[in-house]
Amino acid sequence: MSVSAAEPAVTARPRRRLSWALALPLGWVALVVFLAITADWLGLPDPAAQELILRRKPPSAEYLLGTDNLGRDMLSRIIYGARTSLIVGLCAPLLGFLVGGAIGMSAGYFRGKVDLLAVGLIDILLAFPALVLALTFTAYLGQSLFNVTLALGILSIPAAARVSRASTLAWANRDFVLAARTIGASDWRILTREILPNLLPPMFAFWLVAVSVIIVAEGALSFLGLGIPAPQPSWGGMIADGREALDVAPHTALIPAAVMFVTVLSLNFLGDMVRNMVDPRRSSL
Protein backbone atom coordinates (compact mmCIF):
# COMPACT_ATOMS: atom_id res chain seq x y z
CA MET A 1 0.00 0.00 0.00
CA SER A 2 2.99 2.34 -0.16
CA VAL A 3 2.89 5.10 -2.70
CA SER A 4 6.20 6.03 -4.23
CA ALA A 5 6.98 9.70 -4.63
CA ALA A 6 7.65 9.21 -8.33
CA GLU A 7 4.06 8.26 -9.04
CA PRO A 8 2.46 10.90 -11.25
CA ALA A 9 -0.26 12.97 -9.70
CA VAL A 10 -3.61 11.32 -10.28
CA THR A 11 -5.38 14.64 -10.62
CA ALA A 12 -3.43 15.75 -13.71
CA ARG A 13 -5.78 15.25 -16.63
CA PRO A 14 -4.70 15.08 -20.24
CA ARG A 15 -5.40 18.42 -21.89
CA ARG A 16 -8.24 18.24 -24.33
CA ARG A 17 -7.39 19.82 -27.66
CA LEU A 18 -9.93 22.35 -28.80
CA SER A 19 -10.91 20.99 -32.18
CA TRP A 20 -12.52 23.00 -34.95
CA ALA A 21 -15.69 20.97 -34.59
CA LEU A 22 -16.02 22.41 -31.12
CA ALA A 23 -14.44 25.84 -31.68
CA LEU A 24 -16.63 26.93 -34.61
CA PRO A 25 -20.06 26.33 -33.08
CA LEU A 26 -18.87 27.57 -29.71
CA GLY A 27 -17.43 30.72 -31.32
CA TRP A 28 -20.62 31.40 -33.27
CA VAL A 29 -22.90 30.97 -30.29
CA ALA A 30 -20.58 33.15 -28.18
CA LEU A 31 -20.66 35.84 -30.90
CA VAL A 32 -24.45 35.78 -31.10
CA VAL A 33 -24.78 35.98 -27.34
CA PHE A 34 -22.21 38.77 -27.13
CA LEU A 35 -23.92 40.86 -29.84
CA ALA A 36 -27.35 40.30 -28.32
CA ILE A 37 -26.15 41.54 -24.94
CA THR A 38 -24.18 44.53 -26.20
CA ALA A 39 -26.62 45.56 -28.96
CA ASP A 40 -27.45 48.88 -27.30
CA TRP A 41 -23.82 50.00 -27.16
CA LEU A 42 -22.76 49.03 -30.65
CA GLY A 43 -23.97 52.27 -32.27
CA LEU A 44 -26.40 50.40 -34.50
CA PRO A 45 -29.15 52.27 -36.29
CA ASP A 46 -32.58 51.98 -34.69
CA PRO A 47 -33.93 48.58 -35.78
CA ALA A 48 -37.41 50.08 -36.08
CA ALA A 49 -36.46 53.25 -38.01
CA GLN A 50 -38.08 53.07 -41.43
CA GLU A 51 -36.52 54.65 -44.52
CA LEU A 52 -39.03 53.86 -47.20
CA ILE A 53 -36.92 55.31 -50.02
CA LEU A 54 -34.15 52.89 -49.15
CA ARG A 55 -36.29 49.75 -48.94
CA ARG A 56 -35.11 46.33 -50.09
CA LYS A 57 -31.52 47.44 -50.68
CA PRO A 58 -29.13 44.54 -51.12
CA PRO A 59 -26.10 44.38 -48.80
CA SER A 60 -23.70 47.29 -49.32
CA ALA A 61 -20.99 49.19 -47.48
CA GLU A 62 -23.58 51.42 -45.84
CA TYR A 63 -26.06 48.66 -45.01
CA LEU A 64 -23.88 45.61 -44.41
CA LEU A 65 -26.81 43.22 -44.68
CA GLY A 66 -29.08 45.46 -46.77
CA THR A 67 -32.49 46.79 -45.78
CA ASP A 68 -35.88 45.14 -45.48
CA ASN A 69 -39.31 45.85 -46.97
CA LEU A 70 -39.70 49.00 -44.89
CA GLY A 71 -36.15 50.22 -45.33
CA ARG A 72 -34.99 49.12 -41.88
CA ASP A 73 -31.38 48.17 -41.34
CA MET A 74 -31.11 44.37 -41.54
CA LEU A 75 -27.90 44.05 -39.51
CA SER A 76 -29.40 46.00 -36.67
CA ARG A 77 -32.58 43.96 -36.86
CA ILE A 78 -30.68 40.67 -36.92
CA ILE A 79 -28.74 41.63 -33.80
CA TYR A 80 -31.77 42.93 -31.92
CA GLY A 81 -33.67 39.90 -33.19
CA ALA A 82 -30.96 37.69 -31.69
CA ARG A 83 -31.80 39.24 -28.37
CA THR A 84 -35.45 38.24 -28.74
CA SER A 85 -34.66 34.78 -30.03
CA LEU A 86 -32.18 34.15 -27.24
CA ILE A 87 -34.44 35.38 -24.48
CA VAL A 88 -37.22 33.09 -25.68
CA GLY A 89 -34.81 30.30 -26.67
CA LEU A 90 -32.97 30.21 -23.34
CA CYS A 91 -35.77 31.03 -20.94
CA ALA A 92 -38.55 28.85 -22.33
CA PRO A 93 -36.60 25.59 -22.06
CA LEU A 94 -35.27 26.68 -18.67
CA LEU A 95 -38.84 27.09 -17.46
CA GLY A 96 -39.83 23.77 -19.01
CA PHE A 97 -36.83 22.02 -17.49
CA LEU A 98 -37.42 23.38 -14.03
CA VAL A 99 -41.04 22.28 -14.01
CA GLY A 100 -40.59 19.14 -16.13
CA GLY A 101 -37.42 18.17 -14.29
CA ALA A 102 -39.18 18.37 -10.94
CA ILE A 103 -42.11 16.34 -12.24
CA GLY A 104 -39.85 13.74 -13.83
CA MET A 105 -37.65 13.39 -10.77
CA SER A 106 -40.56 12.91 -8.40
CA ALA A 107 -42.11 10.41 -10.78
CA GLY A 108 -38.91 8.41 -11.13
CA TYR A 109 -38.08 8.53 -7.45
CA PHE A 110 -41.41 7.99 -5.72
CA ARG A 111 -42.87 5.69 -8.38
CA GLY A 112 -46.36 4.36 -7.73
CA LYS A 113 -49.20 6.85 -7.84
CA VAL A 114 -46.97 9.88 -8.32
CA ASP A 115 -45.44 8.21 -11.35
CA LEU A 116 -48.82 7.27 -12.78
CA LEU A 117 -50.11 10.82 -12.40
CA ALA A 118 -46.98 12.40 -13.86
CA VAL A 119 -46.81 10.05 -16.84
CA GLY A 120 -50.50 10.67 -17.53
CA LEU A 121 -49.95 14.42 -17.43
CA ILE A 122 -46.94 14.16 -19.73
CA ASP A 123 -48.83 11.99 -22.20
CA ILE A 124 -51.70 14.47 -22.32
CA LEU A 125 -49.30 17.33 -22.99
CA LEU A 126 -47.51 15.30 -25.65
CA ALA A 127 -50.73 14.29 -27.35
CA PHE A 128 -51.79 17.91 -27.67
CA PRO A 129 -50.62 19.38 -31.01
CA ALA A 130 -47.79 21.65 -29.94
CA LEU A 131 -48.24 24.48 -32.38
CA VAL A 132 -51.99 24.62 -31.81
CA LEU A 133 -51.44 24.89 -28.07
CA ALA A 134 -48.95 27.71 -28.53
CA LEU A 135 -51.25 29.47 -31.00
CA THR A 136 -54.23 29.25 -28.63
CA PHE A 137 -52.10 30.46 -25.80
CA THR A 138 -50.79 33.57 -27.51
CA ALA A 139 -54.09 34.24 -29.23
CA TYR A 140 -55.97 34.33 -25.92
CA LEU A 141 -53.42 35.83 -23.58
CA GLY A 142 -52.06 38.26 -26.12
CA GLN A 143 -48.81 38.42 -27.99
CA SER A 144 -45.91 39.44 -25.81
CA LEU A 145 -42.39 38.25 -25.20
CA PHE A 146 -43.49 36.86 -21.83
CA ASN A 147 -46.50 34.96 -23.17
CA VAL A 148 -44.57 33.44 -26.06
CA THR A 149 -41.86 32.32 -23.64
CA LEU A 150 -44.46 30.89 -21.30
CA ALA A 151 -46.25 29.01 -24.08
CA LEU A 152 -43.06 27.50 -25.46
CA GLY A 153 -41.88 26.77 -21.92
CA ILE A 154 -44.99 24.72 -21.25
CA LEU A 155 -44.41 22.86 -24.49
CA SER A 156 -40.95 21.79 -23.37
CA ILE A 157 -42.19 20.34 -20.07
CA PRO A 158 -43.01 16.82 -21.30
CA ALA A 159 -39.67 16.20 -22.98
CA ALA A 160 -37.77 17.43 -19.93
CA ALA A 161 -39.96 15.37 -17.64
CA ARG A 162 -39.32 12.22 -19.66
CA VAL A 163 -35.57 12.66 -19.74
CA SER A 164 -35.34 13.39 -16.04
CA ARG A 165 -37.72 10.57 -15.12
CA ALA A 166 -35.70 8.03 -17.10
CA SER A 167 -32.41 9.16 -15.58
CA THR A 168 -33.88 9.25 -12.10
CA LEU A 169 -35.18 5.70 -12.47
CA ALA A 170 -31.66 4.57 -13.34
CA TRP A 171 -29.97 6.43 -10.50
CA ALA A 172 -32.53 5.83 -7.77
CA ASN A 173 -31.73 2.12 -7.71
CA ARG A 174 -28.03 2.59 -7.18
CA ASP A 175 -26.61 1.45 -3.89
CA PHE A 176 -25.40 4.91 -2.99
CA VAL A 177 -29.01 6.02 -2.75
CA LEU A 178 -29.67 3.09 -0.39
CA ALA A 179 -26.51 4.01 1.45
CA ALA A 180 -27.70 7.59 1.81
CA ARG A 181 -30.97 6.30 3.18
CA THR A 182 -29.18 4.17 5.73
CA ILE A 183 -27.22 7.15 6.99
CA GLY A 184 -30.55 8.80 7.65
CA ALA A 185 -31.02 11.10 4.65
CA SER A 186 -34.56 12.27 3.90
CA ASP A 187 -36.22 11.90 0.49
CA TRP A 188 -35.69 15.60 -0.22
CA ARG A 189 -32.02 15.35 0.63
CA ILE A 190 -31.55 12.24 -1.50
CA LEU A 191 -33.30 13.88 -4.45
CA THR A 192 -31.39 17.12 -4.29
CA ARG A 193 -28.00 15.97 -3.08
CA GLU A 194 -27.59 12.46 -4.42
CA ILE A 195 -29.66 12.24 -7.59
CA LEU A 196 -29.92 15.79 -8.97
CA PRO A 197 -26.15 16.30 -9.44
CA ASN A 198 -26.06 13.13 -11.51
CA LEU A 199 -28.92 14.40 -13.66
CA LEU A 200 -27.38 17.77 -14.46
CA PRO A 201 -24.88 16.75 -17.20
CA PRO A 202 -27.39 14.87 -19.39
CA MET A 203 -30.04 17.51 -18.72
CA PHE A 204 -27.64 20.28 -19.75
CA ALA A 205 -26.86 18.50 -23.03
CA PHE A 206 -30.55 18.05 -23.67
CA TRP A 207 -31.25 21.67 -22.75
CA LEU A 208 -28.84 22.88 -25.45
CA VAL A 209 -30.78 20.88 -28.03
CA ALA A 210 -34.06 22.17 -26.61
CA VAL A 211 -32.82 25.75 -27.00
CA SER A 212 -32.36 25.22 -30.72
CA VAL A 213 -35.77 23.59 -31.05
CA ILE A 214 -37.41 26.50 -29.24
CA ILE A 215 -35.65 29.08 -31.40
CA VAL A 216 -37.14 27.37 -34.45
CA ALA A 217 -40.53 27.13 -32.74
CA GLU A 218 -40.46 30.83 -31.93
CA GLY A 219 -39.65 31.44 -35.58
CA ALA A 220 -42.62 29.33 -36.61
CA LEU A 221 -44.93 31.27 -34.28
CA SER A 222 -43.67 34.59 -35.62
CA PHE A 223 -44.00 33.31 -39.16
CA LEU A 224 -47.66 32.61 -38.42
CA GLY A 225 -48.00 36.11 -37.06
CA LEU A 226 -48.49 35.01 -33.46
CA GLY A 227 -44.99 35.49 -32.17
CA ILE A 228 -43.35 38.55 -30.75
CA PRO A 229 -45.44 41.65 -31.65
CA ALA A 230 -44.43 43.74 -34.64
CA PRO A 231 -41.97 46.55 -34.00
CA GLN A 232 -39.71 44.29 -31.96
CA PRO A 233 -37.53 42.33 -34.37
CA SER A 234 -37.23 38.57 -34.15
CA TRP A 235 -35.65 36.18 -36.63
CA GLY A 236 -38.88 34.34 -37.32
CA GLY A 237 -40.72 37.63 -37.84
CA MET A 238 -38.04 38.81 -40.25
CA ILE A 239 -38.31 35.67 -42.33
CA ALA A 240 -42.09 36.13 -42.41
CA ASP A 241 -41.74 39.76 -43.53
CA GLY A 242 -39.12 38.89 -46.12
CA ARG A 243 -41.29 36.21 -47.65
CA GLU A 244 -43.40 38.85 -49.44
CA ALA A 245 -40.38 40.01 -51.43
CA LEU A 246 -38.60 36.72 -51.97
CA ASP A 247 -38.54 37.28 -55.76
CA VAL A 248 -37.23 40.85 -55.82
CA ALA A 249 -35.15 40.98 -52.63
CA PRO A 250 -34.39 37.42 -51.51
CA HIS A 251 -31.85 38.61 -48.92
CA THR A 252 -34.64 39.95 -46.71
CA ALA A 253 -35.77 36.40 -45.92
CA LEU A 254 -32.62 34.42 -46.60
CA ILE A 255 -30.27 36.31 -44.28
CA PRO A 256 -32.34 35.85 -41.12
CA ALA A 257 -33.02 32.27 -42.20
CA ALA A 258 -29.31 31.62 -42.63
CA VAL A 259 -28.48 33.18 -39.26
CA MET A 260 -31.11 31.07 -37.57
CA PHE A 261 -29.87 27.96 -39.39
CA VAL A 262 -26.25 28.45 -38.34
CA THR A 263 -27.22 29.23 -34.76
CA VAL A 264 -29.48 26.21 -34.43
CA LEU A 265 -26.89 23.97 -36.08
CA SER A 266 -24.21 25.24 -33.71
CA LEU A 267 -26.39 24.60 -30.69
CA ASN A 268 -27.14 21.09 -31.89
CA PHE A 269 -23.44 20.42 -32.40
CA LEU A 270 -22.66 21.67 -28.92
CA GLY A 271 -25.49 19.63 -27.44
CA ASP A 272 -24.25 16.48 -29.12
CA MET A 273 -20.74 17.11 -27.98
CA VAL A 274 -21.73 17.71 -24.39
CA ARG A 275 -23.81 14.56 -24.52
CA ASN A 276 -20.89 12.53 -25.82
CA MET A 277 -18.73 13.88 -23.04
CA VAL A 278 -21.12 12.90 -20.29
CA ASP A 279 -23.01 9.96 -21.72
CA PRO A 280 -20.70 6.96 -22.01
CA ARG A 281 -19.41 7.36 -18.51
CA ARG A 282 -15.67 7.35 -18.90
CA SER A 283 -15.24 6.21 -15.35
CA SER A 284 -17.40 3.13 -15.66
CA LEU A 285 -14.34 0.90 -16.27
Binding site: M1, S2, V3, V10, T11, R111, G112, R174, D175, F176, L178, A179, A180, R181, T182, I183, G184, A185, S186, R189, R193, E194, P197, N198, R281, R282, S283, S284, L285
Partner: protein, 327 residues
Protein backbone atom coordinates in the same frame (compact mmCIF):
# COMPACT_ATOMS: atom_id res chain seq x y z
CA UNK B 1 -22.88 -11.86 28.03
CA UNK B 2 -24.51 -9.96 30.82
CA UNK B 3 -26.90 -8.12 28.56
CA UNK B 4 -29.43 -9.08 25.92
CA UNK B 5 -28.59 -9.37 22.26
CA UNK B 6 -27.91 -6.20 20.27
CA UNK B 7 -29.98 -7.44 17.38
CA UNK B 8 -32.72 -9.94 17.72
CA UNK B 9 -34.58 -11.23 14.70
CA UNK B 10 -37.71 -13.31 15.12
CA UNK B 11 -39.38 -15.17 12.29
CA UNK B 12 -38.39 -12.68 9.58
CA UNK B 13 -40.34 -13.14 6.38
CA UNK B 14 -40.20 -11.37 3.04
CA UNK B 15 -42.31 -12.28 0.07
CA UNK B 16 -42.66 -10.60 -3.29
CA UNK B 17 -45.84 -10.68 -5.30
CA UNK B 18 -44.94 -11.95 -8.75
CA UNK B 19 -47.00 -12.89 -11.77
CA UNK B 20 -46.57 -16.54 -10.76
CA UNK B 21 -47.71 -16.00 -7.20
CA UNK B 22 -46.00 -15.06 -3.98
CA UNK B 23 -42.25 -15.60 -4.01
CA UNK B 24 -41.04 -16.29 -0.50
CA UNK B 25 -37.53 -14.86 -0.56
CA UNK B 26 -37.06 -15.07 3.20
CA UNK B 27 -39.05 -17.64 5.10
CA UNK B 28 -39.04 -17.48 8.87
CA UNK B 29 -35.48 -16.66 9.87
CA UNK B 30 -34.64 -16.23 13.54
CA UNK B 31 -31.32 -15.27 15.08
CA UNK B 32 -29.64 -13.18 17.78
CA UNK B 33 -26.52 -11.13 17.44
CA UNK B 34 -24.56 -9.94 20.45
CA UNK B 35 -22.35 -6.92 20.77
CA UNK B 36 -18.85 -7.44 19.41
CA UNK B 37 -19.74 -10.68 17.61
CA UNK B 38 -19.65 -11.45 13.93
CA UNK B 39 -22.35 -13.47 12.28
CA UNK B 40 -21.55 -14.88 8.87
CA UNK B 41 -24.54 -15.47 6.63
CA UNK B 42 -23.60 -17.94 3.93
CA UNK B 43 -25.63 -19.08 0.97
CA UNK B 44 -25.60 -19.21 -2.78
CA UNK B 45 -27.08 -16.56 -5.06
CA UNK B 46 -30.80 -16.21 -4.52
CA UNK B 47 -30.78 -17.88 -1.12
CA UNK B 48 -32.26 -14.73 0.37
CA UNK B 49 -29.32 -13.52 2.41
CA UNK B 50 -29.20 -9.99 1.00
CA UNK B 51 -32.96 -9.60 1.03
CA UNK B 52 -33.07 -10.76 4.63
CA UNK B 53 -30.57 -8.20 5.80
CA UNK B 54 -32.01 -5.39 3.72
CA UNK B 55 -35.47 -6.11 5.02
CA UNK B 56 -34.20 -5.92 8.60
CA UNK B 57 -33.35 -2.26 8.20
CA UNK B 58 -36.29 -1.29 6.03
CA UNK B 59 -34.47 -1.12 2.69
CA UNK B 60 -36.83 -3.76 1.36
CA UNK B 61 -40.36 -2.91 2.22
CA UNK B 62 -43.81 -2.05 1.05
CA UNK B 63 -42.58 0.55 -1.48
CA UNK B 64 -40.61 -2.11 -3.32
CA UNK B 65 -43.64 -4.37 -3.52
CA UNK B 66 -42.55 -6.72 -0.78
CA UNK B 67 -44.53 -8.09 2.10
CA UNK B 68 -42.48 -8.14 5.24
CA UNK B 69 -43.23 -10.01 8.44
CA UNK B 70 -41.67 -10.92 11.76
CA UNK B 71 -39.94 -8.92 14.42
CA UNK B 72 -36.61 -7.08 14.37
CA UNK B 73 -35.39 -5.77 17.70
CA UNK B 74 -32.38 -3.51 17.92
CA UNK B 75 -31.56 -3.11 21.60
CA UNK B 76 -35.15 -4.05 22.37
CA UNK B 77 -36.70 -1.55 19.96
CA UNK B 78 -38.82 -3.00 17.20
CA UNK B 79 -37.57 -1.51 13.94
CA UNK B 80 -40.61 -2.69 12.02
CA UNK B 81 -43.01 -0.54 14.02
CA UNK B 82 -40.91 2.62 14.25
CA UNK B 83 -42.22 5.62 12.29
CA UNK B 84 -40.09 6.56 9.25
CA UNK B 85 -38.28 9.55 10.70
CA UNK B 86 -37.35 7.73 13.93
CA UNK B 87 -36.15 4.74 11.94
CA UNK B 88 -33.95 6.98 9.81
CA UNK B 89 -32.20 8.54 12.77
CA UNK B 90 -31.75 5.14 14.34
CA UNK B 91 -30.33 3.67 11.15
CA UNK B 92 -28.02 6.61 10.65
CA UNK B 93 -26.61 6.38 14.14
CA UNK B 94 -26.55 2.70 14.93
CA UNK B 95 -26.18 0.80 11.69
CA UNK B 96 -23.58 1.04 8.94
CA UNK B 97 -23.67 -0.83 5.66
CA UNK B 98 -20.97 -1.80 3.20
CA UNK B 99 -22.41 -2.84 -0.13
CA UNK B 100 -21.08 -5.35 -2.61
CA UNK B 101 -20.04 -3.11 -5.45
CA UNK B 102 -18.21 0.11 -4.65
CA UNK B 103 -18.85 1.18 -8.25
CA UNK B 104 -22.49 1.76 -7.47
CA UNK B 105 -22.42 2.39 -3.75
CA UNK B 106 -20.55 5.68 -4.10
CA UNK B 107 -22.07 8.75 -5.70
CA UNK B 108 -19.98 9.44 -8.81
CA UNK B 109 -20.44 13.20 -8.71
CA UNK B 110 -19.76 13.85 -5.05
CA UNK B 111 -16.30 14.22 -3.57
CA UNK B 112 -15.25 11.38 -1.31
CA UNK B 113 -14.73 13.58 1.72
CA UNK B 114 -18.25 14.95 1.41
CA UNK B 115 -19.74 11.47 1.12
CA UNK B 116 -18.03 10.37 4.30
CA UNK B 117 -18.89 13.58 6.11
CA UNK B 118 -22.55 13.52 5.11
CA UNK B 119 -23.62 11.08 7.79
CA UNK B 120 -21.62 12.96 10.40
CA UNK B 121 -23.38 16.18 9.50
CA UNK B 122 -26.79 14.51 9.51
CA UNK B 123 -26.49 12.36 12.58
CA UNK B 124 -23.76 13.80 14.74
CA UNK B 125 -24.51 17.46 14.11
CA UNK B 126 -20.97 18.25 12.98
CA UNK B 127 -20.52 21.35 10.83
CA UNK B 128 -19.07 21.02 7.37
CA UNK B 129 -15.49 21.81 8.32
CA UNK B 130 -15.48 19.41 11.26
CA UNK B 131 -17.07 16.69 9.17
CA UNK B 132 -14.40 17.24 6.52
CA UNK B 133 -11.61 16.89 9.06
CA UNK B 134 -13.15 13.76 10.51
CA UNK B 135 -13.56 12.35 6.97
CA UNK B 136 -9.83 12.69 6.37
CA UNK B 137 -9.10 10.96 9.69
CA UNK B 138 -11.42 8.13 8.72
CA UNK B 139 -9.72 7.79 5.34
CA UNK B 140 -6.38 7.47 7.09
CA UNK B 141 -7.89 4.91 9.43
CA UNK B 142 -9.11 2.69 6.61
CA UNK B 143 -5.65 2.72 5.11
CA UNK B 144 -5.84 5.28 2.35
CA UNK B 145 -2.59 7.18 1.85
CA UNK B 146 -2.68 10.97 1.50
CA UNK B 147 -6.18 11.19 3.01
CA UNK B 148 -6.39 14.98 2.72
CA UNK B 149 -5.85 14.85 -1.03
CA UNK B 150 -8.02 11.77 -1.56
CA UNK B 151 -10.89 13.41 0.27
CA UNK B 152 -11.04 16.01 -2.49
CA UNK B 153 -11.19 13.39 -5.26
CA UNK B 154 -14.13 11.75 -6.96
CA UNK B 155 -14.82 7.99 -6.81
CA UNK B 156 -13.67 7.37 -10.39
CA UNK B 157 -10.19 8.51 -9.48
CA UNK B 158 -9.79 5.58 -7.08
CA UNK B 159 -9.23 1.87 -7.63
CA UNK B 160 -11.86 -0.70 -6.68
CA UNK B 161 -10.15 -1.65 -3.44
CA UNK B 162 -9.70 1.98 -2.48
CA UNK B 163 -13.35 2.62 -3.20
CA UNK B 164 -14.39 -0.23 -0.95
CA UNK B 165 -12.19 1.28 1.77
CA UNK B 166 -14.05 4.54 1.26
CA UNK B 167 -17.36 2.69 1.52
CA UNK B 168 -16.17 1.20 4.82
CA UNK B 169 -15.16 4.64 6.05
CA UNK B 170 -18.68 5.88 5.24
CA UNK B 171 -20.23 2.92 7.05
CA UNK B 172 -18.21 3.36 10.24
CA UNK B 173 -18.22 7.17 10.25
CA UNK B 174 -21.04 7.49 12.75
CA UNK B 175 -19.68 4.82 15.10
CA UNK B 176 -22.50 2.34 14.45
CA UNK B 177 -23.24 -0.50 16.85
CA UNK B 178 -23.94 -2.85 13.98
CA UNK B 179 -21.99 -3.10 10.75
CA UNK B 180 -23.56 -4.96 7.86
CA UNK B 181 -21.21 -6.07 5.10
CA UNK B 182 -23.16 -7.36 2.11
CA UNK B 183 -20.71 -9.41 0.06
CA UNK B 184 -18.07 -6.74 0.60
CA UNK B 185 -15.37 -8.51 -1.41
CA UNK B 186 -17.29 -10.09 -4.27
CA UNK B 187 -16.61 -7.27 -6.72
CA UNK B 188 -12.91 -7.07 -5.87
CA UNK B 189 -9.69 -8.71 -7.01
CA UNK B 190 -8.64 -11.69 -4.96
CA UNK B 191 -5.51 -9.90 -3.80
CA UNK B 192 -7.56 -7.02 -2.47
CA UNK B 193 -10.27 -9.18 -0.88
CA UNK B 194 -8.10 -10.21 2.00
CA UNK B 195 -7.04 -6.65 2.78
CA UNK B 196 -10.65 -5.52 2.88
CA UNK B 197 -11.69 -8.42 5.13
CA UNK B 198 -8.76 -7.70 7.45
CA UNK B 199 -9.79 -4.06 7.58
CA UNK B 200 -13.40 -4.95 8.38
CA UNK B 201 -12.30 -7.30 11.13
CA UNK B 202 -9.89 -4.79 12.64
CA UNK B 203 -12.49 -2.02 12.71
CA UNK B 204 -15.08 -4.35 14.15
CA UNK B 205 -12.78 -5.35 17.01
CA UNK B 206 -11.56 -1.83 17.73
CA UNK B 207 -15.04 -0.43 17.92
CA UNK B 208 -16.63 -3.51 19.48
CA UNK B 209 -19.28 -3.42 16.79
CA UNK B 210 -21.47 -6.36 15.97
CA UNK B 211 -21.05 -7.39 12.37
CA UNK B 212 -23.13 -9.31 9.87
CA UNK B 213 -20.93 -10.60 7.10
CA UNK B 214 -22.89 -11.80 4.11
CA UNK B 215 -21.00 -13.97 1.68
CA UNK B 216 -21.43 -16.84 -0.72
CA UNK B 217 -17.90 -17.94 0.08
CA UNK B 218 -17.55 -20.28 3.06
CA UNK B 219 -13.82 -19.56 3.03
CA UNK B 220 -14.45 -15.87 3.64
CA UNK B 221 -16.78 -16.60 6.53
CA UNK B 222 -14.49 -19.22 8.04
CA UNK B 223 -11.75 -16.96 9.30
CA UNK B 224 -13.86 -13.95 10.17
CA UNK B 225 -17.16 -15.00 11.72
CA UNK B 226 -17.85 -16.20 15.25
CA UNK B 227 -21.05 -17.86 14.19
CA UNK B 228 -22.33 -18.91 10.83
CA UNK B 229 -25.84 -19.13 9.53
CA UNK B 230 -26.26 -21.13 6.34
CA UNK B 231 -29.21 -20.13 4.20
CA UNK B 232 -30.91 -22.16 1.53
CA UNK B 233 -34.00 -21.13 -0.42
CA UNK B 234 -34.86 -18.36 2.02
CA UNK B 235 -34.56 -20.45 5.18
CA UNK B 236 -31.85 -20.77 7.76
CA UNK B 237 -30.83 -24.42 7.45
CA UNK B 238 -27.93 -24.53 9.85
CA UNK B 239 -26.62 -22.25 12.54
CA UNK B 240 -23.58 -22.88 14.69
CA UNK B 241 -20.32 -21.56 16.02
CA UNK B 242 -17.92 -21.37 13.11
CA UNK B 243 -15.54 -24.02 14.39
CA UNK B 244 -18.33 -26.47 15.19
CA UNK B 245 -19.87 -25.94 11.79
CA UNK B 246 -16.67 -26.66 9.96
CA UNK B 247 -15.72 -29.58 12.15
CA UNK B 248 -19.06 -31.31 12.08
CA UNK B 249 -21.68 -29.94 9.73
CA UNK B 250 -25.08 -31.48 10.41
CA UNK B 251 -27.13 -30.26 7.49
CA UNK B 252 -26.38 -32.16 4.27
CA UNK B 253 -26.35 -28.88 2.33
CA UNK B 254 -23.55 -27.48 4.48
CA UNK B 255 -21.67 -30.73 4.15
CA UNK B 256 -22.02 -30.56 0.39
CA UNK B 257 -20.82 -26.95 0.39
CA UNK B 258 -17.77 -27.89 2.38
CA UNK B 259 -17.02 -30.79 0.07
CA UNK B 260 -17.16 -28.49 -2.91
CA UNK B 261 -14.26 -26.42 -1.60
CA UNK B 262 -10.84 -27.27 -3.00
CA UNK B 263 -8.34 -28.52 -0.41
CA UNK B 264 -4.59 -28.09 -0.45
CA UNK B 265 -4.19 -31.64 0.81
CA UNK B 266 -6.03 -33.13 -2.16
CA UNK B 267 -4.06 -34.88 -4.86
CA UNK B 268 -3.60 -32.64 -7.88
CA UNK B 269 -6.47 -32.77 -10.41
CA UNK B 270 -8.93 -34.14 -7.89
CA UNK B 271 -12.40 -33.27 -9.12
CA UNK B 272 -14.36 -30.88 -6.91
CA UNK B 273 -17.55 -32.36 -5.57
CA UNK B 274 -20.22 -30.19 -7.15
CA UNK B 275 -23.74 -30.23 -5.76
CA UNK B 276 -26.01 -31.80 -8.37
CA UNK B 277 -29.18 -30.05 -9.48
CA UNK B 278 -30.21 -26.47 -8.97
CA UNK B 279 -31.74 -24.39 -6.18
CA UNK B 280 -35.54 -24.61 -6.22
CA UNK B 281 -37.86 -22.08 -7.80
CA UNK B 282 -39.01 -20.01 -4.84
CA UNK B 283 -42.36 -19.20 -6.41
CA UNK B 284 -43.38 -22.85 -6.71
CA UNK B 285 -42.25 -24.59 -3.60
CA UNK B 286 -43.73 -27.87 -2.50
CA UNK B 287 -44.29 -28.86 1.08
CA UNK B 288 -41.06 -30.70 1.74
CA UNK B 289 -37.48 -29.77 2.45
CA UNK B 290 -36.20 -27.38 -0.21
CA UNK B 291 -32.90 -29.19 -0.47
CA UNK B 292 -34.40 -32.69 -0.72
CA UNK B 293 -34.15 -33.03 -4.52
CA UNK B 294 -30.37 -32.53 -4.33
CA UNK B 295 -29.77 -34.36 -1.09
CA UNK B 296 -27.81 -37.60 -0.60
CA UNK B 297 -29.65 -38.52 2.56
CA UNK B 298 -33.13 -37.90 1.29
CA UNK B 299 -35.95 -39.97 2.76
CA UNK B 300 -39.69 -40.10 2.18
CA UNK B 301 -40.33 -37.72 5.05
CA UNK B 302 -38.15 -35.05 3.41
CA UNK B 303 -40.58 -34.70 0.51
CA UNK B 304 -43.66 -34.55 2.68
CA UNK B 305 -42.70 -32.31 5.56
CA UNK B 306 -40.60 -29.21 5.98
CA UNK B 307 -37.94 -29.62 8.69
CA UNK B 308 -37.65 -26.76 11.17
CA UNK B 309 -34.44 -25.50 12.69
CA UNK B 310 -33.89 -27.66 15.75
CA UNK B 311 -31.15 -27.26 18.28
CA UNK B 312 -28.67 -29.84 19.40
CA UNK B 313 -26.97 -27.83 22.11
CA UNK B 314 -25.63 -24.64 20.50
CA UNK B 315 -25.80 -26.25 17.08
CA UNK B 316 -28.99 -25.69 15.09
CA UNK B 317 -29.96 -27.44 11.88
CA UNK B 318 -33.06 -28.08 9.85
CA UNK B 319 -32.89 -31.69 8.75
CA UNK B 320 -34.57 -35.04 9.45
CA UNK B 321 -31.50 -37.05 8.54
CA UNK B 322 -28.64 -34.94 9.87
CA UNK B 323 -25.09 -35.85 8.97
CA UNK B 324 -23.30 -37.83 11.66
CA UNK B 325 -26.46 -38.87 13.50
CA UNK B 326 -25.37 -42.50 13.13
CA UNK B 327 -28.26 -43.26 10.82
Amino acid sequence: MNEGPLLSVRDARVSFATARGALRAVDGVTFDLHKGRTLGIVGESGSGKSVLVRSLIGLVGADSGAEVGGQVLLEGQDLRTLPGARLRTLLGRDIGIVFQDPMTSLNPVMKIGRQIGEGLQLNRGLDRAAAGRRAAELLAEVGIPEPERRARQYPHELSGGMRQRVAIAIAIACEPKLLIADEPTTALDVTVQRQILDLLQREQRQRAMAMILITHDLGVAAGRADDIMVMYAGRAVEMAATRALFRAPRMPYTEALLRSLPRLTDVAHTRLAAIPGRPPDLARRGGGCAFAPRCRYRSARCDAEQPVLTRDGPHGFACFNPVGAGA
